[in-house]
Amino acid sequence: MTVTDLVSYEDALATYEPVMGLEVHVELGTKTKMFCGCSTALGADANTQTCPTCLGLPGSLPVVNAIGVESAIKIGLALNCSIAEWCRFARKNYFYPDMPKNFQTSQYDEPIAFDGYLDVQLEDGEVFRVEIERAHMEEDTGKSTHVGGATGRIHGASHSLLDYNRAGIPLIEIVTKPIKGAGERAPEVAKAYVAELRELIKALGVSEARMEMGQMRCDVNLSLMPKGSEKFGTRSETKNVNSLRSVERAARFEIQRHAAVLSSGGTIIQETRHFHEEDGSTTSGRVKEEAEDYRYFPEPDLVPVAPSREWVEELRKGLPELPRLRRNRLREEWGVSEHDMQSILNAGAVDLIVATTEAGADAAAARKWWMGELARRANEDGVDLDALPITPEQVARVAALVAEGSLNDKLARQTIEGVLAGEGTPDEVVEKRGLKVVSDEGALGKAVDEAIESNAAIADKIRGGKVAAAGALVGAVMKATRGQADAARVRELILEKLGVEG
């Protein structure tokens, strides 16, 4: 392995134009696998959701899942693709222990959906059109656990253990055409595209598209060409970049790495690369001695899929409100700017905020928590927002506690911190940490009296009409109650006791 000195991002972009290709695999949320009736439910014991077909036992045969096809068509339509009138599955032949048949049943030159586009909006409101090459149906592989190595990684392992529960789960692979002209915004476009695609998939109801669960996985292909050139450079293919943030970082890193290699007179090797969450770098995968030759041919165990035009039109009519339109509606409802709405999308917060409002919070509060405290935490922890261990219902509960005056902002932040730390529900955290605002009028009155007594000069000023000086007394009371008082109520009490109109 070689250590790569990176060229600064700015320098890289001064010389080169990036060209990207994004390949996204989405695991469909069907009840059963693509070619057999085994359950796709998550969390089952190893090898309890397998059958002769998905284990590739001799003699077994595949049968296509109708909802898998329907989902593929919906995705294709939502991506403005043409839907094939007739297409076939193909076998992609290569040996790998996680693939029971040693071929993947996929589609080759006859994808079910092709030639579409997806408009994505960048932070500043600019709309960038990403052209879609194709969306096709295929199947997932099993899962291997590598044993005996120091880190659980494949290298140095003595053997591997295979669980085929995931083998055969339907995947839709969505491939973009080369994305050119994004310039320095290429990493941002990559992230916005994946974010928009994820919104779309969720809106279609075909998958939950949870990246942290591997339900949506992205490969980032990237190459550089000298500015002004039209000829693409050699690309690298960074595999399994599995969060929105990582997509952006991987693209950025590869731009800097490619520039470093090219600027020093080197050549980029066409290879797969692995992305490392820890530092945002990529490293070389195994260089294959022989060029891949997948020997694709039409899958003879399956018959062609020929979606009738009536069916396609019916599915088109049933498409839900598309995310960008929905966002515009929500933006108006929430009364936020284009820019804020884009930030909400990029943070992956649209549905979280909607869910929080559906759980009873008002939109402003929901937005404030998700885009403030929680976005900060997600960023710190390097995870996507929806991967935080807090639910929209819990955020709504915190907002409700604030609204009823039981918590102030500071206490609410502490409550959220407690939930994130796994201390329980908001109410449990409040209880355990003793975070309730002091609203006992007797105790509060006593604290106010003490503050007036020990700050006689300030009290006099207030009596004399300098109401603004009340802030100092409020501060003293808050200090005495360790922040657990409702500041507004404290102020009211102070003015009341001093006989002044607020």
Binding site: P52, F297, V303
Partner: protein, 502 residues
Amino acid sequence: MAQTAAHELIKLTAAETAAKIAAGEVTAVQVTEAHLARIEAVDEKVHAFLHVDREGALAQARAVDAKRERGEKLGPLAGVPLALKDIFTTEGVPTTVGSKILEGWLPPYDATVTQRLKAADVVILGKTNMDEFAMGSSTENSAYGPTGNPWDLTRIPGGSGGGSSAALASYEAPLAIGTDTGGSIRQPAAVTGTVGVKPTYGGVSRYGMVAFSSSLDQGGPCARTVLDAALLHEAIAGHDPLDSTSIDAPVPAVVEAARNGSVQGMRVGVVKQFRGEGYQDGVIQRFDESVALMKELGAEIVELDCPSFDLALAAYYLIAPSECSSNLARFDAMRYGLRVGDDGTKSAEDVTALTREAGFGPEVKRRIMLGTYALSSGYYDAYYGSAQKVRTLITREFEAAFEQVDVIVSPTTPTTAFPIGERADDPMAMYLADVCTLPVNLAGNAAMSLPCGLAPEDGLPVGLQIIAPTMKDDRLYKVGAAVEAAFVEKWGHPLLEEAPSL
């Protein structure tokens, strides 16, 4: 109860056996024991069976007898013993496909054909020998040693289903199941003087039938008479939702056709491509006599020219190996079957390669490599692509022919049974055995082989092939029954009675 001696029981047809069991003249257990005893007595010489499931067979027979005693209605083949080609999975009973790579494998599931046989109360005696993975025309490619032809044990019983044909011809079973990818039911039937039918592609489920070439493979009935074949055909055929290529339509009325044999007024085609160089004189003589016989019986004979048939062998030896190279990739030493070289230091990749080297015989390796070659990038269009065009041309020629005729007839195979070892290391000579049968597999229609006499020069059986259009399997039986009856009348007995006793 009239006792029928064991040596008489084994000579009965399946229809007669079932009738005697239903009438209580003999029990299913007696019938089964008679056949088990016969196997015991002669199979050391014949080697038709790879595995005899004595206990399973007797249990099934007892269940039939119990059913009868309870007064339940028995099906037309209840209690009749059958020899199952070792290519169909049988739960808990070894299934090897004639290969070392699956030695000792006990499938956890039944093939659809296996299930239907059990449901029809057929008694499965065991699993029969075959060319490894059904690749061959002589059964010499079995990893477990060759099978002898009961007419002359130094000669081949045909292949790949030589175990099934030999079991019938040696009276070890009145019924057998075969599979036919290029002729593996019909050619063994021809060289052993028995009856074999390749149903229309999609007529019999392939689920649980270990795949050789998916778009060509078809399971079918083997028997000593046309009626028995029809009864078995009806028991195993019909739509199976587990096989996507299974035809969802009623099974042609084959039993009714077999009971009403006639060629009166039928137009019978003779293809000029099915004779000439490489055809044994005695084969041509018996074939010509068969045509003359059909004319006497009231058929009209029509000469046909099908020039693309000359390309069938070449197309077949591209398509079948291509599909097999992919179908057999699953035998990788990871999930089932043989594992060689796993000494704790070797990689999965190496263990797979070592296992496949040790577990596959030369013919299988040859075809895997041929198929790998034909599918490789750069060769696909010239080989696989062209072979598929040939397939279209052959199908069109069959369609055009069937506008002029009701059935086509030909010799089943150009020669009678050749000596074991004669063609063992000359693949091209071996492949010629299927020259008359494999056009049918490429087009997907139905065909039968039945005995039409002994070649005068060697006294060995000659097969007559009858070919019908897709889903017109009943015509095979209508014509076959008429020809069979006329021959038996002419000979004074079934042909098999001329076979030497073992």
